[in-house]
Symmetry: C2
Subunit: 208 residues, 2 copies
């Protein structure tokens, strides 16, 4: 089992490598990566080694090759079809984000329970009634779902999604889905908790 | 120094305690917390003990008291004034989120460089020109800033914010601000990386 923390950092290394690709830099060493990212060069070398990625002594890593290897390891060297549940404030912002499409994610459909939204489109994807989840998701062949609904509605929807063949849920409602759903992979993101983390970091700095 | 991972979990314990408060439950033990949250009861007891929070044998923790202690430790037992930089897709969704206000965060002003937005309001807060950051932020006495601007604009803005007396930045642009800014606390959130974490978890599950 690969440590989750190493995998998370891998995503950040990839983002930095893509930035270097755009500036036509062809090789990079762990010390240079360390300067821009904040982790020690030893940590970066260790993380990459966990995934069998090694640099060449005196040269470092080839940017294009390392980026391609990381994409393959992370599973993002292919397209992923995504559905969005909840087209409110946050859902609309996520649907409109160009950064998802450039990473190979395709929004194929959205679902909501607001009659005024059903039958319209968001970011070129049709908005269907959430009642039709079981009927439509198997034909859409989407693998992932983004959940941006009010907190009480999230757990029952996660249950329904796991029965339609969805493999993973990115959940923005402030509730932990992970332990409840044993047969589907969930990643829970709570933006209010992120603000709390910031406050705690600021307060700890003042106290020390 | 308190481990960041324990502090992050503390925020999730608080969210669960607030849910219990709403359902009039007055005591809870670590086993019950474990069932809803997914960490082991031993991990939960250990996390709370790091902060000097102990239950009573056979009874557990008093929900109201534990929640109040955690709020004090996390620094959220007071109001925090926040400014928003970038009132686009994501900025608008964050400004409109009722969950921030209910946690004691007050949006006092927003800043943007789009002339069509300057002079209007978002969630009752005035939108100013970002050129006036140095002039207005010291008078607003805000402590925190949320950054929702395009990626290239984030680092120079972080630099300007640290010189206006802002203590912490919650950054949504896909760039690491943390090591660049040594004199201001930054928390970097990248929603595309969260989707990548989900894909990696789904792919790892398939591979195992
Ligand atoms: N807006 C933010 O910045 C923000 C920040 C942090 C967390 N969140 C969380 O994200 C979630 C969405 O927040 P929001 O601000 O977009 O709320 P919102 O009320 O603006 O949007 C919710 C959407 O979900 C739809 N909906 C409700 N029940 C549904 C169901 N059973 N099936 C399908 N659709 C349903 C509504 O019709 C609406 O379109 C909430 O759980 C919230 O706590 C939002
Ligand atoms: N929309 C999302 O769901 C989402 C998801 C992940 C990451 N992000 C990141 O969040 C950031 C904002 O994304 P968005 O979708 O809201 O973009 P957007 O283009 O809709 O909004 C950006 C806003 O910032 C303003 N702006 C630009 N330069 C500025 C400056 N120097 N000072 C002040 N304001 C400035 C623009 O006028 C605009 O209002 C981006 O970095 C993006 O990569 C967004």
């Amino acid at each position: 089992m690969i440590p989750a923390a190493s995998a998370n950092r891998l995503g950040i290394y990839l983002r930095e490598l893509e930035r270097l690709e755009r500036t036509e830099i062809s090789t990079v060493n762990s010390r240079q990566l360390s300067e821009n990212l904040g982790w020690s060069d030893a940590q970066i070398r260790r993380d990459l080694a966990v995934f069998g990625l090694f640099g060449r002594r005196g040269v470092g890593y080839t940017v294009k090759e390392l980026a391609a290897s990381i994409r393959q390891i992370l599973g993002i060297n292919r397209n992923w079809d995504v559905i969005l549940i909840g087209v409110g404030n946050l859902g609309r912002a996520l649907a409109g984000y160009r950064g998802f499409a450039s990473n190979g994610y395709r929004l194929v459909a959205a679902f909501d329970n607001n009659p005024a939204l059903i039958g319209t489109k968001i970011a070129n994807a049709p908005i269907y009634s959430v009642e039709r989840l079981e009927e439509l998701v198997p034909t859409l062949q989407a693998q992932l779902a983004i959940l941006a609904v009010p907190v009480d509605h999230a757990p029952p929807l996660a249950q329904r999604l796991s029965q339609c063949g969805i493999q993973g849920i990115l959940n923005f409602a402030p509730v932990i889905l992970k332990p409840v759903q044993t047969d589907i992979t969930c990643v829970d993101v709570d933006l209010a908790l992120e603000l709390q983390r910031l406050v705690f970091a600021v307060v700890s700095r003042d106290r020390s």
